[in-house]
Amino acid sequence: MKPSAFEYFTPNTVEEAVGLLEKYEDEAKILAGGQSLVPIMNFRLGRPEVLIDINGIRDLDYIKEEGDDLLIGALTRQRDVELSPRVQEKCPILAEAVSFIGHVPIRNRGTIGGSLVHADPSSELTTVICCLDGEMKVVGPPGDRTLGPEEFFLTYLTTSLEPSEILVEVRIPTLPQNTGWSFVELSRRVSDFAIVGVATLLFMEDGGICKEARIALGGVAPTPIRAEEAEELLAGQKITDALIVKAGEEAAEIAEAEPDYHASAEYRKDMARVFVQRGLREALNKVRGGE
């Protein structure tokens, strides 16, 4: 389990990194936390000829607020996001989702950007960004552009990043008062890949009416997906348990679950139902507790 030979660069600025990407394009891979890339290289499932280690680009490591949004640098460690008082206060669902990633030593190294560009559909970050409608800011030779989840995540392990582009920042809206939220997942062991992960948001109005609901599912399709029909079912309603049951059933309908060793397609689909229901109940409890 030794990687094949590669060239190794350590740029100190985004411009240098983009320059290297422009030069080597598909031959190059960016090394951030290395929690997915290094095992892939050790198994020789991936054999990049060039590694661009961006750990020296210190100004990609930050958590800031701008208006109603949180701005998180791509190189920010997952553990820093999880423990950030600002994130815990302004966008607790993000801190909660991140706490499900691997174990502490993995989160100490793994970065926000690394997980998003890896684009594993069962990953907690892709699912929660999809739910929050976060935006990915990428920089390439012609300049920068901003992509929403649907534009960014194309399919399994694939994003719309061009070979010479690098993800630099994620913009995440903070949650208004009176928002119910939850992140729940099913995995074989603590830290394993999610069989299904569900992020939910309930934006409530005075009088206990749900103004808008968001439900994102991970692990049941080639990208994280939003359960739009289930969301519509809840929007403008006073949420009852009967409605939650129905929303779960509706959400499971859109799961295009693939079978693997740990979960059959039927099981995964049914777990989408169960965890959407559990997630919505938890979100509702939170917002009721907060009233």
Partner: protein, 808 residues
């Protein structure tokens, strides 16, 4: 002669002497060994489960700078012989595939290079021409005449087949009121020690001698078998094992083919060659426990008395069979009837091959397979008879007054009090109250289950059992086999400190600590005054076919050797002291480091003075006494006898007991299991060190928890392993470990000097079926039956859906 210090250390939770060096990174494992001019090997492995090798081209790989040589199957065939194995027609199992591959991951060539990176690069440049063949993955399909045949020289996939009858099962069936039947599937799981296999080999052509560093769990039978395969006398192959082995659990007691393979690579290239198995190699191709299909039935009276057992068990040793297999099928013979008084048995045993990874003992060595069937059947009988599963166990237990108890199959259970231990487990979980809670929970649609397993825990293998693979007639033509000995040398230096030389080759069990405790008690000294070297060096140590740490041997036969050798030293010290004091040895007593003449407190001599005399003033020793101060012990257990003409054998020597009582809740929406209470009560005889014992019990519980809920070497129908990395082969971590309440009942073994029995495997035998029984109990209102493992949430969910579909 009295010794007032007796019992000062043994039985106490003394901290491990090994820990400091391990915690600060000063252990000495295989990867710590760096020899001059050492080169590195990587192994090319088959991507096919079953294929002819039609050709191999290594020319491109040889040209890669840094490559020092390549060993192929052709070389291995020329330079060695297939490994021997105790079955009528052995397959041709070489250290590397010669003309055909029979499982994914089977070695086909070895590259030796300046570093492991280059060696792995070179693997990519070797071209192998495979001709794929149909595969056989299913155990029962493998027994069919029309299944793909792995070994043409055998002509079928059946490596071993025997029929046994004990007592009079026909009569028992006539007397029975009910016959309970089941078919049980036990999965293939393993041990995953932190330190994988590793070998460093060199060959000196001038004295024609191999020196091979490895982390095998003993010489056991493997040193002898590797020498045979290499075609050399045993004394021309020196094995050295470093101070520390990072876990074994049985994985490192099977035929370790890489010792021969790397030795051949060293001989061919003329280099000192190091090979470390990586995790993928370990999961794909090292060694696992056997998977087993069992058909078992019990003939039972209305009152719950179990009269007879009838079973057909089929084990699967994969693409080949290698020692100590077919032990998988025969090792538990003496304890086949577990903790119960069952006199009549009818058995059929098959060991077959499929295109899966090979097997070796895996903590519990097939007792978990055996008890999964027996203890499920006991619960099923209770259900059919309307009896409580605890009650039926009490009804059938061997009673405390019956020891030593001879089982129908020849096992000689040395000591035990099964009802007392089981009652303790029931009390810990508050059984009666739990049943009430279960009823209450069911009304709220919550599914709580209570599961038991009460099993006999055999330790110290008697090597005789392997000859059960032969019929009595075949056996009569061979010389008998028997034994279980372990060797220890105790020596005292001129300043009166003790060094113990053992070769139990521990893999983390804490033998250094326990040996120090025992010697300290025997001689009235401090454990810090005892040092221990407990490794194997076949040129320096006294060893035999039975030597090593496997089969939970140390606590019984290992401690016997320590005690007896120390007592011999003490006897000699006493004689020297008596001689110097001009007293009768019988009048001496040892107190606080001095020999006193009883009744004359002013007449004494220190241990140090006695030891000094033995070394510095040899003329002062009693006439005829050896100079220096040391003694050895190397005793086999008196109960280790050959198999008799009726196929009865005392397959182990000391027999402990485990009572598991588990309360859990099944989430029927997701199939997840949550443990509510877990009592694990053990009788491992006299407890030597409660802290070490707790570690063993927890380890065996969690190892078995893995095999029950998480771990499996799963294959698809094309023969590819689906779980060849830790991403999919799920070993429980600290996060998955529930609270376990451990209890002990100590019935001293009359066979051991200190009354202790083995404990290292214990719950690995009882936990799988205890959890299985608890899940079956939880889901009984839904009509779910449990007859296979592992019970993943996905699996439990499907069982629930199937049961619901049946009901509708």
């Amino acid at each position: 002669m009295s010794n007032e210090d007796k019992g000062k250390w043994v039985g106490k939770g003394m901290k491990r002497k090994e820990d400091l060096r391990l915690l600060i990174g000063r252990g000495n494992f295989m990867d710590d060994i760096r020899l001059p001019n050492m080169k590195h090997a990587a192994i090319l492995r088959s991507p096919y489960p079953h294929a002819w090798i039609r050709g191999m081209d290594v020319s491109e790989a040889e040209k890669l700078p840094g490559v020092r040589g390549i060993l192929t199957g052709e070389d291995v065939e020329k330079m060695s012989k297939p490994f021997s194995v105790g079955v009528p027609v052995p397959p041709k199992y070489y250290a590397c595939a010669v003309d055909k591959v029979r499982f994914v991951g089977e070695p086909v060539a070895v590259v030796v290079a300046d570093d492991r990176y280059i060696a792995e690069d070179a693997l990519d440049l070797i071209k192998v021409d495979y001709e794929p063949l149909p595969v056989v993955m299913d155990i029962e399909e493998a027994t069919q005449p029309d299944s793909p045949i792995l070994h043409d020289n055998i002509g079928s996939n059946i490596y071993s087949h025997r029929l046994f009858k004990y007592g009079n099962p026909e009569k028992a069936y006539e007397e029975a009121d009910l016959v309970v039947k089941g078919k049980f599937l036990f999965p293939k799981y393993g041990s995953t020690p932190i330190e994988t296999y590793a070998v460093i080999a060199s060959y000196n052509p001038y004295n024609e001698e191999f020196v091979i560093y490895n982390n095998y769990q003993g010489p056991f039978v493997t040193h002898f078998l590797v020498a045979l395969a290499l075609g050399i006398p045993e004394n021309k192959m020196r094995w050295i094992v470093p101070t520390d082995i990072g876990g074994g659990f049985g994985t490192k007691t099977g035929m370790y083919p890489y010792i021969a393979l790397i030795a051949l690579a060293a001989k061919k290239t003329g280099m000192t060659v190091k090979w470390l198995e990586d995790r993928r190699e370990h999961l794909l191709a090292s060694s696992t426990g056997t998977d087993r299909v069992t058909y078992m039935e019990a003939a039972v009276k209305k009152d719950g008395t179990i009269l007879a057992l009838k079973d057909k068990a089929i084990d699967n040793t994969g693409g080949y069979i290698r020692p100590p297999e077919p032990g998988c099928a025969y090792r538990s013979t003496g304890n086949h009837t577990g903790a119960y008084q069952i006199k009549d048995l009818d058995r059929e045993v098959l060991v077959v091959g499929t295109n899966k990874c090979l097997t070796a003992p895996n903590r519990g060595y097939t007792c978990q397979e055996l008890y999964f069937s027996v203890e499920r059947l006991v619960d099923m009988a209770a259900t059919e008879l309307g009896l409580d599963p605890a009650e039926i166990r009490f009804k059938n237990f061997i009673q405390p007054g019956q020891f030593p108890y001879t089982t129908a199959t020849g096992g000689l259970y040395d000591a035990g009090n099964y009802p007392k231990a089981f009652q303790m487990a029931l009390d810990i979980i508050d059984y009666k109250k739990m049943r009430e809670e279960q009823q209450k929970a069911r009304k709220e649609s919550k599914y709580i289950g209570i599961g038991f397993a009460t099993v006999v825990d055999p330790s110290v293998t008697n090597i005789a059992y392997v000859t059960l693979a032969l019929t009595p007639e075949q056996r009569a033509k061979e010389r008998p086999k028997s034994g279980s000995g372990e060797s220890v040398i105790v020596k005292m230096d001129p300043l009166g400190k003790v060094h113990v030389i053992a070769s139990t080759n521990p893999q983390g069990q804490g033998h250094e600590t326990v040996i120090s405790q025992i010697v300290a008690d025997e001689l009235g000294i401090h454990p810090d005054d005892v040092t221990v070297s407990d490794v194997v060096d076949t040129h320096d140590r006294v060893y035999s076919i039975t030597t090593g740490s496997y089969s939970s041997r140390f606590a019984s036969v290992g401690t016997n050797a320590v005690v007896y050798a120390t007592r011999k030293v003490k006897e000699r010290m006493t004689k020297i002291a008596a001689h110097l004091l001009e007293a009768n040895p019988n009048d001496l007593e040892l107190k606080k480091g001095k020999f006193y003449v009883k009744g004359s407190p002013d007449r004494s001599i220190s241990i140090r003075h006695v030891a000094g005399t033995a070394h510095w003033n040899q003329a002062a020793l009693p006439e005829g006494m050896d100079a220096g101060l040391y003694a050895s012990s190397f005793l086999s257990m008196p109960t280790s006898k050959p198999v008799d003409d009726l196929d009865r054998v005392d397959s182990s020597n000391t027999y402990g007991f485990v009572a598991e009582a588990i309360v859990l809740e099944v989430d029927i929406e997701t199939g997840e299991v949550k443990f509510l209470k877990w009592a694990s009560v053990h009788d491992s005889g006299t407890v030597l060190n409660p802290m070490l014992l707790e570690g063993q019990v927890m380890g065996s519980c969690i190892h078995a928890l893995g095999g029950t809920l998480y771990e499996e070497f799963a294959y698809d129908e094309n023969g590819q392993c689906l779980t060849a990395s830790f991403q999919d082969y799920l070993v429980p971590t600290a996060m998955e470990v529930p609270k376990i309440d451990i209890g002990h009942v100590e019935t001293a073994s009359p066979l051991t000097a200190l009354g202790s029995k083995g404990a290292g495997e214990s719950s690995s035998m009882s936990v799988p079926v205890a959890i299985g029984n608890a899940i079956a109990d939880a889901l009984s209102p839904l009509g779910v039956t449990i007859d296979e493992l592992p019970l993943s949430p996905n699996k439990i969910w499907h069982l629930i859906q199937e049961a619901r579909a049946k009901k509708d």
